[in-house]
Symmetry: C2
Amino acid sequence: MPDILHKVGIKSSSLNDVYSALTEIDNLSAWWTTDTKGGTKVGGALQFRFGAGGFDMKVLELHPATRVLWQVVDGPEEWIGTTISFDLKQNDDWTIIIFKHAGWKQPVEFMHHCSTKWAVFLLSLKSLLETGKGAPYPNEIKLDSWE
Amino acid sequence: MPDILHKVGIKSSSLNDVYSALTEIDNLSAWWTTDTKGGTKVGGALQFRFGAGGFDMKVLELHPATRVLWQVVDGPEEWIGTTISFDLKQNDDWTIIIFKHAGWKQPVEFMHHCSTKWAVFLLSLKSLLETGKGAPYPNEIKLDSWE
């Protein structure tokens, strides 16, 4: 099954700050979507909304400063059951996120879209941590007429 | 074999302008790397350089306003033999690029890096066509300490 892979390095940040950006409502709201709610603990469900649509993510694993794993429990059909992982490590002065959105059934056009859109939001996360300002929905870069 | 997939829409552009950005040296130099040379016709080889390293791409297919296909003939070991395609279509006021970098042998960390880096450069291409200004190497967003 094809996966969406990304890697983003954040300069002069820390494993703890990046982990916090992936696990706290206020921080998630500052880089992915301003409309973020829900439970942040293991077994909880995060709700990310983008206007009418969105995703519900069950938190499967939380390893402080190391790894976050979610599973999609509601959202577009292509996303349900897929998993999203963020693995963290330090390279010199850079904190690195190894990202994987795994379990897509087919490499449909929507998967192409979501791959680039993940990059847009991971660059928003990088900007948030490097400059204090992200570009979460509804202020992120748009990639198609239906966005 | 895993692929890198992306999709980028460019607003108020045209199939011909996007095709030109993918097939002419001056335009490639304005969004990917300022150090671009070589043959642009089918069977020719484009040389893209990023400081000491870079890629040589053989032009395999050129279908005006529709499709461009390259094959990597020199560069990092992981890239050699892989193919890079750009398929173009119009959605309302948006010109859409469906991008695929196919033929990776393994989903190594360098593939994660290249996936995000392709997004960075495709967003540079989008910016070039929407605003007249791209961010080619050496002025693109950096993602790790070794860049």
